[in-house]
């Protein structure tokens, strides 16, 4: 990990020298740190026995701004604040990206059909959560979503189902259409239709808490690809996790673990519950 560079403002087109996650030691003589990660503006100020965090979420979930700088005083206007007490506070913080704490449901804007015996890859984009840890990753302090997605309900009716997040992703089909933003995570889902009739996809639930998180060499966040196959007789199969690989075949490093353990045999849920 290269040393901390102050006042960097990155556009997403050029590869930043370091990802926004990692260890941020406090410079001598400075008291705090500031990050802009997509729509999230996060400030942290240190005292001997305390770290104080103030954060504010922006309006636009699709902004790609990424910057980091040192600061000396907090500006808490319209911010949420949290204080952490220590016997002797560490002289640095670590940020770690995490996936959402609930499944994410994506609804293609227009109905999407998979013709018989065809397959396609849908790229689903979800918000990353920013986990703040004390020092070089020792003690987790708090988790903040880079953009708080809208609550949603996924289930066959209003009585049964589960609480999830609604993704604003348009379920893009072409990799070159994906604008990768530093605070967004891309999950490729392959849908294979082996049946004799077309499959209509109205909504897709990605079981994000069960997935670990990876990063590419360009510091873009990805999950393992997933496959769902609809068999010849029209029965929907379970969602399977594939081995981690990036579309361009580049290396990926694991940056954080799944929130929950997988169910048995690595199969998550049937298409019924996946597609409601």
């Amino acid at each position: 990990m290269s040393g901390v560079e102050l006042n960097e403002v990155m556009e997403v087109t050029e590869t930043p020298s370091r990802p926004w996650w990692g260890h941020y030691p406090l410079e001598e003589g400075r008291h705090g740190l500031f990050w802009q990660i997509g729509p999230l503006a996060l400030q942290a100020r240190r005292w001997r026995q305390e770290w104080r965090l103030a954060w504010q979420e922006g309006e636009d979930p699709l902004t790609s701004e990424l910057s980091f700088s040192a600061l000396d005083e907090l500006d808490e206007t319209r911010c949420k604040v949290a204080r952490f007490a220590f016997q002797e506070s560490a002289r640095g913080l670590t940020l770690c990206p995490r996936l959402a704490d609930r499944p994410v449901v994506v609804r293609p804007d227009t109905p999407l059909y998979i013709p018989p015996r065809e397959e396609t890859i849908i790229y689903v984009s979800t918000s990353a959560w920013v986990q703040v840890l004390s020092d070089d990753g020792g003690v987790p302090l708090i988790e903040i979503p880079s953009y708080r997605p809208s609550d949603s309900w996924f289930g066959p009716n209003t009585r049964e189902g589960e609480l999830c997040y609604a993704s604003r992703s348009l379920a893009r089909l072409r990799l070159d259409e994906i604008v990768q933003r530093p605070h967004r995570v891309v999950s490729p889902v392959t849908i294979r239709n082996r049946a004799a009739d077309a499959l209509l996809i109205e909504r897709l639930s990605v079981p994000v808490p069960l997935l670990p998180l990876y990063a590419s060499a360009e510091h873009q966040l990805w999950t393992q690809p997933m496959v769902m196959e609809r068999s010849d007789d029209g029965k929907e199969g379970a969602l399977k996790l594939e081995e981690m690989r990036l579309p361009d075949g580049m290396e990926a490093t694991r940056v954080s673990e799944a929130r929950q353990l997988q169910e048995r045999h690595g199969l998550f849920r049937t298409l019924e519950s996946l597609f409601a």
Binding site: V105, R107, R148, P149, S150, D151, S152, W153, F154, T158, R159, G161, L163, A166, R203
Partner: protein
Amino acid sequence: MDVIDFLFSDKGLEILRASVLVILGLFFAKVAAVITQRVSEPYLEPQQTALLKRVVFYAIVIVTLMSALHQLGFSLTVVLGAAGILSVAIGFASQTSASNLISGLFLIGEKPFRIGDFIKIGDTIGEVLSIDMLSVKLRTFDNLFVRVPNEMLLNSEVTNLTRFAIRRLELKVGVAYREKLSHVREVLMQVAEEYPLCLTEPKPVVLFLGFGDSSLDLQFNVWATRENWLDLRNNIPERVKEAFDEAGIEIPFPHRSLYTGSVTEPFPIRVVSSRDDEEPTP
């Protein structure tokens, strides 16, 4: 001397045996009850465990007492006969109590609500504190204690407000007649979209209720989780108002149009200038 003699006589030994039996029985009953509770706790609701515990305890106590009485030489048929007559008498006297008891058993079995749920019975809304043999205890929102007999719960409609995870909010709003409904719908949907606590699915819906006296009456249906419902209820109207203000959509006051008759002639109006006049207006 007399006491010890008596104790060692036949009668005395019988009484001693009976007492020992009763004491041991009570002890055993207590132990069995505790064991029953431990064993059944993971599998049953708290009130079902309590019930089972009591049944086990009293069953053993009754068996013990009957054995003790038998020891003392009482004929059980006499005792049972007396018990029979007594229970008929008590039964007549305690009809409502018995009814409540049976209702309680049905409630425990049917489980329309659990401890911690919020229920509405008649006009009373409260949190269920306990489901007992004869009644259910509620705590109202203003922290008052209400005792509802089980019979009443079984016989009338009970609404469980917290059974399902999500709940719909119906916000009635009226807009001026001059407003374009499609525009109003857009603005309302935008409000729902921007509020993260408002569920994206089930989708928010704008219903047209009717051409009201003073306004076009609409109903805005939005969903939230049970826990967030109150926040939704308080914040959505505020956001709707702000959005309407920004979009220039009017929520009208009640209107009344006045006509002078079948042939509408203008009302006579006299303009009286204000402020500069020193004379009071006639």
